[in-house]
């Protein structure tokens, strides 16, 4: 294997896994896994219509980010108590709408006789084609995420426990929650072009679920989820390089195996202490 050529791919897998793993801690903690795929599909819809308008390459990120941010703000504005529906029901409706828009856009490519290869690759990702400029973009986004986590560490801990209790304790819930949603749209949009709109879900959910089985406490879970995400991203690539199997599928399978191992560890530890 030409390590010099594949180094950016390995780094991209590591950074994508770590940043989505950390983000997933909040999404899994708040039991809103739909948020991830809702925002990812909104980004996909934005990219599809951007491509229809003639944008290509990195510039596709702009409409993708705009659509993801719009869907994130919508989620923030809709109050589940006012609409009398669970947040996951609201996200489910928004997700189906954004997916419908994305597939409408994909259908329009054949109507206008334009190639949709570049956009279709967004569905499955193109980690193997990552170059250093992609890695720098992903690392910059991860740095913004880390800044947010450090700055709003205690506010997000309160929101994670219960938005009602956080509001009662005088936390600026609406402000911090909206900032978090915008951050989620940024992280997911930047990463989904490499990991893929469909596979990013596994990197959001699996590392966080595994971390919750392995450690107690907010800070530890954030670190372990980021670590397991990085292991899934980089490890999935390495397995695919050695076995010549699809990279995305290997990342998903490895992260799922880590959840299985964490569950087994939790069970074994429970038996030992009982």
């Amino acid at each position: 294997m030409d390590w010099l050529f594949w180094a950016p791919v390995l780094c991209a897998g590591l950074v994508a896994g770590a940043s989505t793993g950390m983000l997933g801690t909040y999404i899994v903690g708040m039991r809103i896994p739909f948020l991830g795929i809702c925002i990812a599909h909104a980004a996909l819809a934005g990219a599809v219509f951007g491509a229809l308008a003639g944008l290509t390459g990195t510039t596709l990120l702009l409409p993708a980010l705009a659509a993801a941010a719009l869907s994130a703000v919508l989620v923030g504005v809709i109050d589940p108590q006012t609409v009398r529906a669970d947040i996951n029901v609201v996200l489910g409706i928004l997700f189906s709408f954004t997916m419908g828009l994305a597939f409408l856009g994909l259908g329009l490519f054949s109507v206008y006789g334009v190639s949709d290869n570049e956009v279709r690759s967004l569905l499955w990702g193109s980690l193997a084609f990552c170059r250093w400029h992609d890695v720098w973009l992903m690392t910059g986004t991860a740095a913004v995420e880390l800044l947010f986590v450090v700055a709003f560490y205690k506010e997000m801990r309160a929101i994670l426990f219960s938005r009602t209790h956080a509001a009662a304790a005088g936390v600026h819930v609406t402000l911090v929650w909206t900032l978090f949603l915008l951050l989620a749209s940024l992280v997911l949009t930047v990463n989904f072009q490499t990991v893929g709109g469909l596979m990013i879900y596994s990197l959001l959910a699996n590392p966080a679920v595994a971390a919750a089985r392995l450690v107690r406490g907010y800070g530890r879970m954030l670190i372990v989820a980021a670590g397991l995400g990085g292991v899934s991203g980089a490890g999935g690539f390495l397995i695919s390089a050695w076995t010549d199997l699809p990279t995305g599928a290997m990342i998903v399978i490895l992260s799922s195996c880590l959840v299985g191992l964490a569950l087994a560890w939790e069970r074994w530890r429970g038996k030992r202490t009982s």
Binding site: M30, E155, R157, H165, A168, V171
Partner: protein, 268 residues
Amino acid sequence: MTALAIEIRGLQVRRERRTILSVDQLQVPGGAVLVILGPNGAGKSTLLHCLTGAVRPPPGSVRILGQDVGRLSTMALTELRRRVAHLAQVLAAGSEMPLLVREVVAIGRTGRAGLARPLTRYDWSLVDSWIERLGLQRVAGQSYSALSGGEQRKALLAMAMVQEPEILLLDEPTANLDVYWREQIVATLETLHRTQQLTILLVCHDLEAIPTTTRHVLVLRDGRVVAHGPCREVLTQDCIENLYGRGLSVLQHGSRYVLVPQPQEGPA
């Protein structure tokens, strides 16, 4: 004269074209303890939610610490909530996040510490002192979701107390607690009232949970005030029968009250 901590005038809350709470007038001086009684669905929790602004009251109807809750901006309401702690009736749903009990109690300091500022050594010392005061040291390093209902309620009470509030709104704080801890909580509330002149509004069903320092009782039924006055005038046999029907007797022992079932008449 003591300044008013809470003032309500002409408060009406409607839901699905039905008035669920109507309070013409209520004044609670600073440093007073007010107990709110009433059967299920009487509007007790809704009243507390109006005081915190979780249910927005009409402008001019609710004033807390001199501020009109209905006219406050979101920012101003958040600032006010830092001075008013609320222990809700419903326990927080167990999150997937394995938050430690100490971390959960520290949530009470989050607003007070300021936006994007870490908790100080003083904040953590306050957290630890309330953990100790409520007997949670043994479980402080455990996951909150692994606690029993009573321990969770104590953790939430500690969360409310570390906020160092000027007004404490408690919705059934002794629910799920055993007799020992019910008495400890009642004694703690009495001490807080005596030493810190804390204004306390306490919603409860259990008359035994009423602190001896309570001066007034407010009784709600179907969203309306049916009685309001000193304990000895309100907690009468007639009032209890009006609320819960026949079959219960209210007994007074010193400054404490208790409800007991009346003995059944007829052949054994």
